[in-house]
């Protein structure tokens, strides 16, 4: 994950050169709030980074001329991110670092620039000038699990992931638990491919899951590659981060949307009002940062209704897939009956529930 190769060095050198002209620009009293975004992938990935980019654009639009927002894409998740963050900090008031892999680098640079505000996406380390924010993606994934549980004929569903980090483990567990709430015997085959973005590998992995009998595949990597495989193999899947029905008009039943705009707008407003704090925000369906995309017309009405009900349950608090009894893969009970897992437990979740294979 943190390999330093010639390409990433050249990329970061190039990014540093790009950011260089902004150095030493001083803030004026009535000047707009200067924000910057550091992305791990290309804005054209049509996935994770793309979703952040939509949020950035929406923020600029909503805030009129009061906010500027620069961005740097393809920032490597290694030590070479530090000089890039430094350059951003020199010329901006509020810096968003949009990847789990930027955690230690963000903390390190924040120490050097105590007056600049940082916001780190999906991390858990804090500092006086570092806020963290995350999205409850797992809430949407529970709905995908419910749909899979109701519609799977083989009783085997697949989950294509990247790395074993809490974010992914939560997704796997919520997906599986929601599916099991319909069909207790359902199995979820988990396949981690050790990368966020490699369309050919994502595609080969999805083919393998399909070959092993999965008739539903949910993806937690960055490209629509797996959905295209679902379309070819005549099985089902879900859009990740964006509506991907154009890539899989029959296979995509709905999509799990990351909507960052409400959060970014809120943070820009708070900063302008001088009320920014190093908060730890974890928004979700309730705040409008997780939504389901339109359903495919092949989804039966009763499935739609059940899925809508589940999503409403997140809003009013009547539903939580992480309510006991929950057993782990070995069958050992981890959460007692009736107990809801706390956010603290979820954020460091590192075990899979019973029924997850692989």
């Amino acid at each position: 994950m943190t390999t330093i190769n010639r390409r990433s060095l050249i990329k970061s050198a190039g990014a540093a050169a790009l950011a260089a002209p902004f150095i030493n620009r001083t803030a004026l009293g009535d000047a707009p709030l200067k924000t910057a975004f550091a992305y791990t992938g290309p804005i054209g990935d049509y996935g994770f980074t793309w979703a952040h980019e939509q949020g950035r654009k929406a923020m600029v639009k909503a805030m009129g001329g009061r906010v500027t927002a620069d961005y740097v894409e393809n920032v490597p998740e290694d030590q070479s991110a530090i000089p890039i963050f430094r350059d951003l900090a020199r010329s901006h008031d509020l810096v968003f670092t949009c990847s789990f892999g930027f955690m230690d680098q963000t903390i390190a640079v924040a120490k050097e620039f105590p007056k600049v505000k940082f916001e780190h996406n999906t991390g858990f380390k804090h500092a006086p000038n570092v806020a963290t924010y995350n999205n409850r993606f797992y809430e949407g994934r529970a709905a995908l699990g419910l749909i899979s549980g109701m519609m799977s004929k083989t009783g085997i569903i697949g989950y294509l992931g990247s790395f074993k980090i809490p974010e992914i483990v939560m997704g796997v567990d919520s997906y599986t638990l929601a599916a099991q709430s319909i069909n207790p015997k359902i199995k979820c085959k988990l396949l981690m491919i050790d990368t966020w973005f490699d369309p050919a590998k994502e595609s080969a992995a999805a083919e393998t899951l399909a070959n092993l009998g999965c008739d539903f595949i949910t993806t937690h990597t960055d490209s629509p590659a797996a959905l295209q495989v679902c379309e070819k193999k005549k099985i089902h899947g879900f859009g990740q981060g964006a509506d991907m029905s154009r890539f899989a008009p029959h296979a995509q039943l709905t999509s799990n949307l990351d909507i960052w705009a409400p959060y970014y707008i809120e943070r820009a407003k708070l900063t302008l009002a001088g009320k920014w704090t190093n908060s730890d925000s974890w928004w979700g369906v309730k705040e409008g940062t997780v939504k389901l995309g339109p359903y495919n017309k092949s989804v039966p009405d009763n499935v739609k209704a059940a899925s809508d009900k589940l999503m409403k349950g997140w809003v009013d608090g009547s539903y939580d897939c992480f309510t006991g009894p929950i057993a782990d893969q070995s069958g050992k009970e981890r959460v007692a009956k009736g107990v809801r897992m706390s956010d603290k437990e979820l954020l460091v979740l590192d075990w899979y529930v019973k029924g997850v294979e692989g």
Binding site: P42, A200, E207
Partner: protein, 321 residues
């Protein structure tokens, strides 16, 4: 593991191996002529965006009335476009290293950065759109038959890749032109002194390599995942480069080596998904590289099985006036 599962996994292997094989076959010819072009990844990306953009434009409904054949021919035109785009990128490289005598390693790396950048720039207009995949040459009766799948279910580019390996192998070892190309790669001064155009031969080789890399890139954007995403080849160009060395600069071993990598990549995924937990997944992920080291060690230990690296590989040739 049932027979059907094995068949399905073989299809996956072929799918992920073909683009690497295409690019490596081109690079083999380039290196045999004495030129080291490290820019395979960049040329592949140029081919990927060109192939996708052309087949997308051809599928535009605006042409449905005036040129009804265009949508069906789109992928074929796309492949030609991918080859031309790769060759164009290679021409730039050729101009730098052959005409201007620039350093080949630096120019090749520059080509990677250039190809990545220019493909992102052009590709920004094509994010989030899809085209029909360029697959299955034969009719369903053959291609969907249980065992027929193994032979008939592929994209035309898969057959093209096999044919090209055979043609390149035959060309290099059995033809006069191939002999000249090898002579240029082995000893440029001698070839020059007996009247062969070293620069001319190398230009042709570099252009061929670019076209093959472009088609390999097009395989990503038109066959495996019919879409455009920035940097979608995800480092396969570097694997193609490594394969040429791995094969000891021989076409037949190139074929074996490419499938060797493909099989292990697929085995890794299969082992993880089916829960072979007796070995950690990291072990499977490192298998292709571990096996590569073992094979290379065994190969170099055998005196007759040594590599056929061209003697002038990577050296600039500047003819005296």
């Amino acid at each position: 593991m049932t027979i059907d599962l094995v068949i399905a996994e073989i299809l996956t292997v072929v799918n992920i191996t073909t683009p690497i094989l295409l690019a490596a076959t081109g690079e083999l010819v380039v290196e045999k002529s004495g030129v080291l072009n490290l820019g395979v990844e960049g040329m592949m990306l140029c081919g990927a965006i060109a192939g996708f953009a052309i087949s997308f434009v051809c599928s535009d409904p605006a042409f449905a009335d005036s040129l009804p054949w265009l949508a069906a021919a789109g992928p074929w035109i796309g492949v030609v476009g991918a080859a031309l785009a790769g060759a164009l990128a290679a021409l730039l490289f050729g101009f730098m290293v052959l005409t201007l005598g620039a350093n080949q390693v630096a120019s090749g790396l520059a080509l990677v950065i250039f190809g990545t950048g220019v493909s992102s720039l052009i590709g920004s207009a094509y994010v989030g759109v899809a085209v029909q995949p360029f697959d299955q040459l034969f009719p369903d009766a053959l291609a969907q038959q249980r065992f027929g799948k193994l032979i008939f279910s592929y994209s035309p580019l898969v057959y093209f890749a096999f044919i090209m390996v055979a043609v390149v192998g035959w060309f290099l070892s059995r033809t006069r032109a191939g002999l000249v190309l090898r002579a240029v790669g082995e000893n440029d001064l001698s070839a020059h002194s007996i009247g062969y155009s070293v620069i001319g031969v190398r230009y042709l080789a570099v252009l061929f390599g670019g076209a093959m890399a472009g088609i390999g890139g097009g395989y990503f954007s038109m066959v495996i995942t019919p879409m455009w995403a920035e940097g979608m080849t995800a480092g396969r160009g570097w694997i193609a480069l490594a394969l040429v060395v791995f094969s000891g600069w021989r076409a037949r071993r190139l074929l074996g080596g490419a499938y060797f990598f493909g099989v292990f990549m697929t085995l890794e995924l299969y082992a993880k998904a089916s829960g072979f937990s007796f070995l950690p997944s990291q072990f499977w992920a490192s298998m292709p590289y571990l096996m590569a080291i073992i094979v290379l060690a065994v190969m170099s230990a055998r005196s007759r099985g040594g590599s056929q690296a061209p003697a002038c590989l990577g050296k600039s040739f500047i003819p005296d006036a």
